[in-house]
Amino acid sequence: MKPPAFDYVCARSLDEAIDALGRRPGEAKILAGGQSLTPMLNFRLAHPGMLVDINRIPGIDAIRDDDGGVRIGTLARHRAIEVSDSIRKKFPILTAAAAHVGHLAIRNRGTFGGSIAHADPAAEWPMLALLLDAQIEAKGPQGARTIPAREFFTTFLTTALGDAEILTEVKLPALPAKTGWGFEELSRRPGDFALAAVAAIVTLDGKTIKDARISMGGVGGTPLRAPGAEALLRGKPADAALFEQAGKKAAEESDPSNDVHATADYRRHLVSVLTRRALTSAAEKAAQG
């Protein structure tokens, strides 16, 4: 099919984009990489009266070092994240996950902020934003504000952003020393959305787990943390039996549904296996670092 008719504004600044969105409240939509929005238009699942293209706003695609962490501009393409040296150095979990985001042609065009704003529960960037306690920055008619990732993803494909608000930048705060990561995903074919994915980071103090975080994708209406499993790990010596137990706990905390791709039971089983693997790999890396 072909997209419905819409008016098109090519914004040259954030303020111009916010202004354009504000003029057609509820009717205007932002066009970033278009890798999720355009299919929806082609199938007429969305009927925005106006698209506000942000691709030509200068500077909003920058990836910058910040206070030991990184700030990722909303328009940074998936491919730019895949090859960024500062991300490879500070958040190699993003570099590893980037290879799972669609295919090269999708990564060349799709954007980091677009993926987070789209908030697909099986997408890589939203679950990693949640894992890394990202600070999501937005700008709208009322000014700028910062939304913690934990409050950002509200329900399926829905976020805390207002109608005329633009996600501008995502801050990933520095990770403590002796922290390792693991990222495990299962999809039917490379480039498909995950049936289930688990990301974990583990911080060690000697052999003891000082802190652990677990984020799950594709097993709920939003990406989910596994607070029970995280609590179970804290303060205990890292070992295989503990990771097995944490995997089971995380599976209990997931909330998958049945669909054509997999049953809820299978997805829950995947969570327990992928969590165990992600934690094992995270603890190994933490011990080396």
Partner: protein
């Protein structure tokens, strides 16, 4: 009806100007308005890869962009990489290794592979298969496409 926008695009090395409606997909623009019939629309949701073109040198789906967004861009379609009697080395390799049957997926396979060879080491067949996983072929079983890419890659790298 929404207002038309004027765009100027360098298409396979030639500059053109047109007025387009915002909802016109880049792929439809290239096919219907310019007559570049090598741009094949299969799924119109980015999954099949048949409409892949090069936009400023990067592979992108022509079904997931609007023509109006291409203003100022350089676009290469399969018509721009070679022609009968003067095939691109990768096209020649597809010929030599029987890497196509019906040909529907071929333009997307070629342009995707050109970008893959530029950006990834493609050290083994598994990596080539992974790279081509976003392009669907219903005839060949992929074997010969993988062979064609593997055999052409070193020459293309050396030529740069």
């Amino acid at each position: 009806m929404s207002a038309k926008h004027k765009i100027s695009v360098t298409l396979n090395g030639k500059k053109i100007e047109r007025e387009v409606e915002p909802r016109l997909l880049l792929g439809d623009f290239l096919r219907e308005e310019i007559g570049l019939l090598g741009v094949h629309h299969g799924c119109e949701q980015g999954v099949c890869g048949a409409c892949t073109i090069l936009l400023n040198g990067d592979s992108v789906r022509a079904c997931l962009m609007f023509a109006v967004q291409a203003d100022g861009a350089e676009i290469t379609t399969v018509e721009g990489i070679g022609e009968p009697g003067n095939l691109h080395p990768l096209q020649q390799s597809f010929w030599d290794h029987h890497a196509l049957q019906c040909g529907f997926c071929t333009p997307g396979m070629l342009l995707t592979s050109i970008d893959l060879i530029k950006k990834y080491p493609l050290e083994n067949d598994e990596q080539i298969r992974h790279g081509l996983s976003g392009n669907i072929c219903r005839c060949t079983g992929y074997q010969n496409i993988v062979t064609a890419v593997r055999e052409a890659a070193p020459g293309l790298r050396a030529a740069k």
